[in-house]
C-alpha cells in the first residue's frame, strides 16, 4: 500500500474511538488560539473524521500547522495530529499547489544557494524580489529565510584537519539533515566536535533529505522515497551503529512520523528508527549511565530555551534542559510556549504568515524578556523564526556544551 492509500483508507482510526471529547487538545492548540480560521484539532480531527468518506468535510483543516501538540497532550492516546496530516494529504491530493511541491525541496534549495551565497542572501534581503516571489510562488515576503553559507558541512568535513587522537568509544553515525548540511553548518560542526571530544569516531555518510517537508505538505509518495533512500544511506555507514542528529524535526521523521503518518512499514526505516537519537537525548543517556564528563567550564548566563514541537512529540521530554543544567553558572529558562509558529514550511506561506507570527508572539516576548541577545532551540526552521521574531542570536543547545567543554569561546 502506498502512503496516500494508507492516508485515505486506513488512517489512525484505531485511535479515533478513544476520543472522549475532553477538549484537552483544543486548549493546547496554538493555531486555534490565535485565529478563527482553524476550528481546532478535535473538530477537524476525531469529529470530522467520522464524516469523511473520500470527501473532506472541513477545509479549515488546511490551517492545522501539524505541530503535533494535540497528540502529545491527549490523555487518551488519540493520534489527532496524524489523523489531520493524513486527511490534509487526501484533501490536497488532486490540487496540490506548485508552491507546496517546491517548498519541500529542501536539499535542492541548499545545493543551489550555497555556491551563490552572496547573491542568494542579497536576493533574500531584497524587498522587490521577495514581493515577486510572494505573488508568483506564494512564499510570504517577510517569511524567515536562512542565510546561505559559503561552505557546506560536507565541504568543511573534507577540508578540515581530522582529529588525530584515536577514538576511545567506538563509531557513531552523524545525520545532519538538509538544513544542517547547507544552512546551519556551524551547529553540525559543533555537534561533531563534541562527539569527537567525547572520544567517538564520527562517520558522516553521504546523505539526502528525510522528506519531512514533503510529508507535511501532503506529498507522501516523494516523501516516502526520500526517507527510504536516506535510510539506505545511513545504514551504509555500519550495522547497528547509533545515529546521532542535531536536527530535532528530521529525527522525528525517522523515529516515528514516516511510519505513523505515511504508513511506511519498511524494515530499513524500522532499523534506523530504533537507532536514532537526538544529540541532547544521547548526551543525557550518557550522563544517566555515568559516562558523560561534566568537567564543564562555568558559563554565567541566563538563556531562554524553546523545545520545538517536533522534538517534544518524540515523547522524550526535554533532554536539552537536563543536560544544560549540568553546566555551572548557566540558568536555562524553558519557554513554556507551545510553538514558535513556523511549523516547518507553514509560516512561510503567504496565507499563513500572519497566523504563524501570532502563534510565535508570546514566545518572542518571552525570549526578549529573558535574554534579548541569545536563545536556544533544537530545530533549524524554528531558530530562523525566533531570530526573525526577536532579533536575538538563536542557536542549538549543543553550542553551550561545545563552549562548556572549552571547544569554543
Amino acid at each position: 500500500m502506498n502512503g496516500m492509500e494508507f492516508a485515505g483508507h486506513e488512517l489512525a482510526r484505531a485511535s479515533l474511538d478513544h476520543c472522549v471529547k475532553c477538549t484537552v487538545c483544543e486548549t493546547q492548540c496554538p493555531v486555534a488560539a490565535v485565529t478563527p480560521l482553524f476550528s481546532g484539532p478535535k473538530f477537524v480531527g476525531p469529529q470530522a473524521e467520522r464524516y469523511r468518506n473520500g470527501e473532506s468535510v472541513d477545509h479549515s483543516l488546511d490551517y492545522c500547522s501539524s505541530c503535533g501538540i494535540c497528540t502529545l497532550s491527549c490523555p487518551q492516546g488519540v493520534q489527532i495530529a496524524e489523523l489531520n496530516s493524513q486527511a490534509r494529504a487526501v484533501m490536497k491530493a488532486d490540487h496540490m499547489p506548485v508552491r507546496d511541491r517546491l517548498i519541500g525541496q529542501t536539499t535542492l534549495m541548499g545545493k543551489v544557494m550555497t555556491p551563490f551565497a552572496p547573491i542568494a542572501n542579497a536576493a533574500l534581503g531584497n524587498k522587490p524580489i521577495r514581493t515577486v516571489v510572494e505573488k508568483v510562488v506564494g512564499v510570504h515576503r517577510d517569511a524567515p529565510m536562512p542565510p546561505a553559507q559559503h561552505q557546506s558541512f560536507e565541504g568543511w568535513l573534507k577540508k578540515r584537519t581530522a582529529p588525530t587522537a584515536k577514538p576511545t568509544r567506538g563509531p557513531l553515525v552523524f545525520f545532519h539533515g538538509c538544513a544542517g548540511g547547507y544552512f546551519e553548518v556551524e551547529t553540525s560542526k559543533r555537534a561533531v566536535e563534541v562527539l569527537e571530544y567525547l572520544g567517538y569516531e564520527v562517520i558522516v555518510p553521504k546523505q539526502g533529505c528525510c522528506g519531512l517537508a514533503q510529508q507535511s505538505n501532503g506529498l507522501f509518495d516523494s516523501a516516502t522515497a526520500s526517507v527510504l533512500k536516506l535510510c539506505d544511506q545511513l545504514r551504509s555507514a555500519g550495522q547497528g551503529l547509533t545515529i546521532i542528529s542535531a536536527s530535532g524535526s528530521c529525527t522525528g521523521m525517522l523515529k516515528h512520523e514516516a511510519h505513523e503518518i505515511m504508513g511506511v512499514t519498511d524494515d530499513r526505516l524500522a532499523d534506523v528508527a530504533v537507532r536514532t537519537r537526538d544529540i541532547m537525548e544521547f548526551l543525557l543517556e550518557l550522563h544517566e549511565a555515568g559516562e558523560l564528563p561534566t568537567d564543564f567550564r562555568r558559563i554565567d548566563m541566563t538563556v531562554p530555551y524553546h523545545a520545538p514541537c517536533q522534538l517534544k512529540s518524540q515523547g522524550i521530554g526535554m533532554p536539552a534542559i537536563e543536560v544544560l543544567r549540568l553546566i555551572p553558572g548557566l540558568t536555562v529558562v524553558e519557554s513554556g510556549r507551545a510553538c514558535c509558529g513556523i511549523a516547518g514550511t507553514y509560516g512561510l506561506k503567504k496565507e499563513k504568515y500572519e497566523v504563524a507570527q501570532a502563534v510565535g508572539r508570546p514566545l518572542f516576548d518571552m525570549v526578549r524578556q529573558t535574554n534579548p541577545e541569545f536563545a536556544l532551540c533544537d530545530t533549524e526552521t524554528c531558530r530562523w523564526q525566533i531570530r526573525k521574531g526577536t532579533g536575538a542570536q538563536v542557536e542549538h543547545p549543543i553550542w553551550m556544551v561545545h563552549k562548556a567543554y572549552g571547544l569554543s569561546d
Binding site: 484537552v24 493546547q28 502529545l72 491527549c74 490523555p75 492516546g77 525517522l254 536514532t276 522524550i316
Partner: protein, 420 residues
C-alpha cells in the same frame, strides 16, 4: 539523592512530584498526556455528601475513616488530607485557591444546583449560597454551555439546609467573543476576557442590567492568564461577581493545572509528556525500572521508588473488558472491591445506588503501597495515589481531590522517610 518516578500528571501525580522535589528528591514525571486536573472545576472537593450535605469535610473524613475500613480515607486519615489540601493551596497561591480546609463552600453549578466544595477559586466565592442572597445570572448568547435561565430558576426554588432561600433572576446578553462567531467555547471567551478593552465593554453592558444589591453570576470564563480579570470586572460593574464552572474546556481547571505544572517544572522535576508507560522491570518485591513507548522505541527509567498516580477508569489506569474483568494497566496489580460475579459491577438504578465498579482499585497500606491478597505490599518501593485507590464512591461523595491529595502526601512522605 533519592530518584523517584511518578506516573501520571493529574492532581495526585503533580502534587506528589512537587512534595518530593521540595524534600530534595530527584523526580521524573512520566505522563501519557495532560492530566485530568484541567478537566475539573478548578476546586478541591474533600467530602461533599455523606450522604447529607457536608459542612465540615475533615470531620466527615474522620467519620468515614472510622466507619468504613475499606475506604481510602481509612488509611489516609484526616491529617494527611488537611496537609495535602493546604500544601496545594499554598503551592498555587491565594490568587487561585482560597478557603479553610475545615469547612465547605456551597456554590452554584452550571445547572443551578448547590455544590459543596472545600477550596475554591477566589473568583467563585461571591456565589456562596446563603439565606437572602440575591443573584443575577448573566448568560452569553454565544456560549451554549451556560444555561442562565435554568441556573437562576433552580437556585430560586432551592431551599437551603437551614431553611433559607435565595432570589435569582437571569439575563442573556448578545456579546460575541469574536466578531461573527455564533458559538464559542468557554476558552475563546476566557482569552477575550484577558483583554481589558473587552472587559470594559462587557462591564458597561452588564452594569446597565443589574440593580442595587445584586450579585452577578457569570460563566467561569473571566480570564485565563490574567488572574485578576474577574476582580477588574467586578470593579467596573460595581457589583460583586462570581464564576460558575462549566463543562470542559474548564477555564478554572486550566488555571489550576497550568500553575501546578509550572510549579513542578520550576522545582526541576523532569517532565516527559506524551509517552505511555508500557513496561515494568521488576524483581520479586521490588520495581527496578519502568519503560515508556517513546518515538522510535522504548526508553527505560530506573529509580529507587515509584508512584502510580495514573488514575482510574477515566484515564485508562484501570480498564474493564467485555467479559467484566477489571485490570490495572501498568503494573497488573491485584485489585480490591471486585464483586463475586462480573454482572454485579454495575447494579440497580445507575444514579441511585452505590456502584461496585467505581470502588474497584488497589488497596494500600499507610505508606500507600499496593497490597496483595496476603495484605503485604506487592513491591516494597511502589506507592499509589489518587484515582487508582479502591473503596470510594468519589462521584457521589465528592471526595476525589481529597483522596488524591491525602494519598499524595502519604506516598511522598513515606518515600522521603525511607530515603533518610
Amino acid at each position: 539523592m533519592t530518584r523517584v518516578v511518578v506516573i501520571g500528571a493529574g492532581i495526585a501525580g503533580l502534587t506528589t512530584c512537587l512534595r518530593l522535589a521540595a524534600a530534595g528528591a530527584q523526580v521524573t514525571l512520566l505522563t501519557k498526556g495532560i492530566g485530568g486536573l484541567q478537566l475539573s472545576q478548578g476546586t478541591v472537593d474533600i467530602f461533599g455528601y455523606a450522604p447529607h450535605r457536608v459542612g465540615c469535610p475533615l470531620e466527615a473524613v474522620g467519620d468515614v475513616a472510622r466507619d468504613k475500613p475499606d475506604h481510602p480515607y481509612a488509611v489516609i486519615g484526616a491529617e494527611a488530607v488537611r496537609t495535602g489540601a493546604e500544601f496545594l493551596r499554598d503551592a498555587v497561591g491565594p490568587d487561585l485557591l482560597t478557603g479553610d480546609v475545615g469547612s465547605n463552600h456551597q456554590l452554584p453549578t452550571a445547572v443551578g444546583a448547590v455544590r459543596p466544595t472545600c477550596l475554591a477559586q477566589p473568583s467563585m466565592i461571591a456565589g456562596e449560597c446563603r439565606d437572602g442572597a440575591r443573584f443575577t445570572i448573566v448568560g452569553l448568547r454565544q456560549l451554549k454551555d451556560f444555561p442562565a435561565a435554568l441556573i437562576a430558576g433552580n437556585l430560586a426554588r432551592t431551599v437551603l439546609d437551614g431553611g433559607g432561600r435565595m432570589s435569582a433572576r437571569h439575563v442573556v446578553v448578545d456579546f460575541p467573543a469574536r466578531d461573527g462567531e455564533a458559538d464559542s467555547s468557554g476558552l475563546v471567551y476566557a482569552r477575550a476576557f484577558d483583554d481589558e478593552g473587552f472587559r470594559g465593554r462587557f462591564a458597561e453592558l452588564v452594569a446597565s442590567l443589574v440593580t442595587d444589591g445584586e450579585v452577578v453570576g457569570l460563566p467561569a470564563v473571566l480570564g485565563l492568564n490574567d488572574r485578576s480579570a474577574w476582580r477588574d470586572l467586578a470593579d467596573r460593574i460595581g457589583h460583586p461577581v462570581f464564576e460558575i464552572p462549566l463543562p470542559p474546556p474548564s477555564v478554572p481547571g486550566m488555571r489550576l493545572n497550568e500553575t501546578l505544572t509550572a510549579a513542578v517544572k520550576a522545582a526541576r522535576v523532569r517532565v516527559v509528556l506524551g509517552s505511555r508507560v508500557t513496561g515494568v522491570d521488576a524483581e520479586p518485591g521490588r520495581v527496578r525500572a519502568v519503560s515508556i513507548a517513546a518515538a522510535g522505541g522504548p526508553r527505560k527509567f530506573a529509580a529507587d521508588a515509584f508512584v502510580l498516580a495514573a488514575g482510574g477508569f477515566e484515564s485508562g489506569g484501570l480498564v474493564l473488558d467485555s467479559y467484566g474483568r477489571v485490570s490495572e494497566t501498568i503494573f497488573g496489580l491485584p485489585l480490591a472491591g471486585l464483586p463475586e460475579a462480573p454482572d454485579e459491577l454495575v447494579v440497580g438504578e445507575f444514579w441511585g445506588a452505590e456502584q461496585p465498579l467505581f470502588a474497584v482499585g488497589v488497596r494500600v497500606d499507610e505508606r500507600m503501597r499496593p497490597l496483595g491478597a496476603d495484605a503485604t505490599p506487592v513491591y516494597a518501593n511502589l506507592h499509589a495515589a489518587g484515582g487508582v485507590l479502591a473503596g470510594a464512591q468519589r462521584w457521589s461523595e465528592k471526595s476525589g481531590e481529597g483522596i488524591a491529595l491525602g494519598s499524595a502526601v502519604r506516598a511522598a512522605d513515606a518515600i522521603v522517610e525511607e530515603s533518610e
